[in-house]
Point group: C2
């Protein structure tokens, strides 16, 4: 039997893998989220990022409410097949639920976390 591409992945005990979203144009790392099989399959089929929300225990179509969809340019898998990299177009330029461009807006600076990025949009409608 031929192994399907999605069976290659080394899903963890919860059936998940971490997925890193990177802005395909700027190279900026936007966020890290989680995917189960359905999320990854839907992401590949639709060309738009779908994650698994561990808090809500539900599929989470990125941008469903906010409009900040992530259009997938490329899906990559690492050497151990236990992490995914999405290179995406971040529609609206906001990937974080706080209304920032990216989720990694805290930088360690002499023993303190310093917020480096401004809020671009009010966070009410993100997700």
């Amino acid at each position: 039997m031929k192994l399907e591409w999605i069976d290659t992945l080394a899903w963890n005990a919860d059936g998940l893998v971490p997925a890193v979203a990177q802005d395909a144009a700027s190279g900026e790392v936007l966020m890290l989220a989680w995917m189960n099989r359905d999320a990854l399959r839907l992401t590949a089929q639709t060309g738009e990022a779908v994650y698994w929300s561990r808090s809500r225990k539900a599929l989470w179509k990125k941008g469903e409410t906010s409009g900040h969809v992530q259009k997938v340019v490329e899906i990559r898998l690492d050497c151990d097949a236990d992490a995914v990299l999405l290179r995406v177009e971040s529609v609206g330029g906001v990937a974080c639920h706080t209304g920032r461009r990216r989720c990694f807006f805290n930088r360690l600076d002499e023993g303190r976390w310093v917020e480096t990025d401004p809020v671009i949009e009010e966070p009410a409608s993100h997700g």
Copy 2:
């Protein structure tokens, strides 16, 4: 009592967080590994990436045997404090234990994983 920067993190049930290493010069996402408190503290203190090997259950100083050390330019934390981003200088230009530049060398292409990156060094001595 003042909360120390390392106490900000939302460690998972195993006391770990995923850490993404990104080449600070090229922007390329090199790998995803895991850190516990000691690994992150040592990374911050020494300025070179230290991870936690889940398979060996031990601290793993990147490049200890191979020489492919990752010099840390910047440590970032995401909005939920459960993922770390390291921007690094990848010494020797090889981050993957397979001897490739990065671990994410498989690209999904019409339902198949295709290796896109050449092996730069024989993999014997990496880690």
